[in-house]
């Protein structure tokens, strides 16, 4: 289950885009209690709690809570963004996908990277210049606050909910596997720790948890990749040749003729079944590319830096680290072919990986670095989940306290103390809900959830942000109706797609109404056209105000004049 699930988390194992990795995963058995891993993880937790204590002393105002006071440097923020974005699912799932099908794993990871330049070119600086705490600040800048904030808060909470459930279930399964703990205990630990980080340390603690996790993950993955490459004298050709030889051998021992086996072995060097129909491939690519630019917990990170210059520097650092990370996971995947698939110690009776394919990177850690390094990588995987869920929770809490409570309910006149209190109460509620949902979804197939989160972000949040920032003719009515159309259509099309309709809901194969793997190509179009159409048709008084406000917004978004600077220093 965990195996299937984790690959699914990242791989959107839906019709049309199915990686072989998803097909043959075994049941994730609870492993023996791993004390080295637990010890390492305990050390990480102790250290991050100490940081939280330090951050708590600095977290007094709402600005401290939401943005760490806005004094984080571009380099630090870049690492934190990378820490927010590189999930355990992408580390374990992508290396497993590369081990299973080679080149296809690379195609998949590239999709997760290509959204970052778009964020840099079109949004990062303008976001920083216009916003204060949440992306709704930007989306609602010149519009009527209540409806736009309500849309933005819905967009945020829906994306956060799907992403969070996926992470919680993944955490429970992973920890069961790595640490030998019960599923529910693992989920409670993750929920509890994330609540402590966010509740007491706000954005400052969350940022540092993400930075430390990013350094640990990049460091650990670099060590593994270097150890693998060193075995082949740092020659990619030698590594690929050995991997092809091993894959050929496996195919031959499965009873294939020598020609067929050679073909199967060589198949890891080129594209396989990942891209079946071009529409699914493009639609899925759009969800990943533009979804990145609409993820609320990522967008929020741009308000933690003092100005536009640091905002653009942070994306460059983030892109660099994330790109580097995907190159590492590619090498790690090939390392797993050469060191793990050949070692009976890591294989079960049928020749599959102990604990499922997602254990590829974990077994490789053992193979190249022994038991202590295995413990380290297991602890890193756990830390990774914590960092991601803390960022998500903070983003959800801000949407409730800053957008719904302070702006919609209190009409922008909320007392700062009360607003901070609401965000803390929301954090606790979100933590409890996340734990309960995590337990409720234990046995469900939730492979679609991360790709759904990306599709919603691409179809609702991104069009609204882009149009409100760059198009003068955009009106309140346009963004609210268009945004909700994007949101509803992406969710609806996902429900009637094969991944949910057939796999999760158990309807007969072929009965799904929507044949493609991702709705983004269609729902994004619906979102953009909706915003355009309802803005053009909008003849209300408010529309005049909305358009008249564009010049002032544009001046501020381009120059930063009037932007909220680094506060709280």
């Amino acid at each position: 289950m965990a195996g299937k699930l984790l690959v699914g988390l990242t791989l959107a194992a839906a019709a049309g885009i199915v990686l072989a990795a998803g097909a043959d995963l075994g049941q994730a058995e609870k492993q023996a209690v791993n004390w080295t891993a637990i010890g390492m993880f305990g050390a990480f937790v102790a250290f991050t709690l100490w940081i939280t204590k330090w951050a708590a002393a600095k977290t007094k105002s709402a600005a401290d809570f939401y943005t760490g006071g806005g004094g984080i440097t571009g380099f630090q923020n870049g690492l934190a963004i990378a820490g927010d974005y590189m999930s355990a699912a992408s580390f374990l799932g992508i290396s497993a996908a590369v081990m299973a099908s080679g080149f296809d794993g690379l195609i998949f990871s590239i999709g997760f990277l290509v959204g970052w330049p778009v964020v840099t070119f079109l949004l990062a600086e303008r976001l920083r210049n216009l916003g204060k705490f949440t992306f709704a600040d930007v989306a609602a800048f010149r519009f009527q606050q209540t409806p736009v904030r309500m849309f933005a808060a819905s967009g945020t909470l829906v994306v956060v909910a799907f992403y969070l459930i996926a992470q919680m279930v993944g955490a429970g399964q992973l920890i069961k596997l790595l640490f030998g703990l019960e599923y529910w205990i693992a989920v409670v630990i993750v929920g509890g720790l994330m609540m402590v980080y966010v509740l007491f340390g706000g954005m400052t603690a969350t940022t540092w948890v993400q930075i430390i996790k990013a350094i640990m993950l990049l460091g650990g993955a670099t060590f593994m990749a270097v150890m693998v490459m060193a075995q082949f004298g740092f020659s990619p050709e030698a590594m690929f040749a050995k991997a092809v030889e091993i894959k050929t051998g496996i195919a031959a021992s499965a009873g294939k003729s020598p020609e067929e086996a050679a073909k199967a072995g060589f198949s890891i060097m080129g594209p396989g079944g990942f891209v079946k129909d071009p529409i699914s491939a493009i639609s899925f690519g759009m969800a990943l590319m533009f979804g990145t630019a609409g993820l609320p917990h990522i967008l929020m990170r741009f308000f933690t830096v003092p100005n536009a210059k640091e905002a653009r520097k942070s994306v460059l650092w983030a892109t660099t680290w994330i790109g580097y990370f995907y190159i590492l996971t590619f090498i790690i995947g090939f390392g797993a072919i050469t060191f793990v698939l050949t070692n009976p110690q890591f294989l079960d009776a049928k020749g599959g990986l102990l604990g499922g394919n997602n254990m590829a990177a974990i077994h490789l850690a053992n193979a190249v670095g022994g038991n202590v390094f295995l413990g380290f990588i297991s602890a890193v995987a756990f830390a990774t989940i914590l960092a991601v869920v803390a960022g998500l929770t903070l983003s959800g809490a801000s949407a409730v306290s800053h957008d719904l409570y302070a702006t919609v309910i209190k009409g922008g006149k909320a007392d700062a103390k009360a607003e901070l209190r609401v965000s803390k109460i929301t954090t606790v509620c979100l933590g409890i809900i996340a734990v309960l949902l995590g337990i409720a979804f234990e046995k469900q197939n939730i492979a679609f959830m991360v790709s759904l989160a990306f599709a919603i972000a691409a179809s609702a949040n991104f069009p609204v942000l882009l149009m409100s920032v760059l198009w003068k003719g955009c009106t309140t009515k346009g963004v609210v109706i268009g945004g909700f159309l994007g949101l509803v259509s992406s969710v609806a099309l996902t429900i009637v797609s094969p991944a949910v309709w057939e796999v999760t809901l158990g309807n007969p194969k072929g009965s799904a109404w929507f044949p493609y793997a991702s709705p983004a190509l269609f729902s994004m179009t619906i979102g953009f056209v909706g915003i355009w159409l309802f803005s053009v048709l909008d003849g209300s008084k408010r529309a005049q105000v909305d358009k008249a406000g564009f010049l002032a917004q544009q001046v501020r978004s381009e120059t930063g004049i009037g932007a909220s600077g680094a506060s709280g220093h």
């Binding site: 080149f103 195609i107 050709e237 060097m269 594209p271 653009r312 190159i327 010049l551």
Partner: protein, 112 residues
């Protein structure tokens, strides 16, 4: 910001230059990124044998350097934008801020 100040900034030549240059540069680079990424995806969809063709005697295929190339391109194109923004765009934006600050001392730029 009051309306007259906004209009004065909007009319400033440095501001107009900044806005025009950044917007067109941003869209051009976005288009370049989309061409490279969707070009790669379409290549995967329609010409698998090309990507799986061997480069030499060994097992290395054309797809490997192309795939790696897309990753490197993504980072490089981002760096390209940031480099130009750090010099060109920041200079223009500073000019605007200074011109405005000379007449309206309360304005403080957030671009630096």
């Amino acid at each position: 910001m009051d309306t007259t100040l906004v209009q004065r900034i909007a009319a400033h030549p440095s501001y107009r230059e900044l806005k025009a240059r950044r917007t067109s540069f941003g869209w051009w680079l976005t288009a370049a990124m989309m061409v490279v990424y969707y070009g790669f995806i379409l290549l995967v969809a329609f010409n698998k044998p090309l990507l799986a063709s061997r480069l030499g005697e060994g097992v290395m295929t054309l797809g490997m350097p192309i795939g790696l190339g897309v990753i490197v391109f993504t980072v490089v194109i981002t760096a390209l934008y940031v480099r130009r923004a750090n010099s060109d765009f920041d200079r223009l934006s500073d000019e605007v801020v200074q011109a405005v600050a000379a007449t309206a001392p309360s304005v403080k730029g957030a671009s630096k």
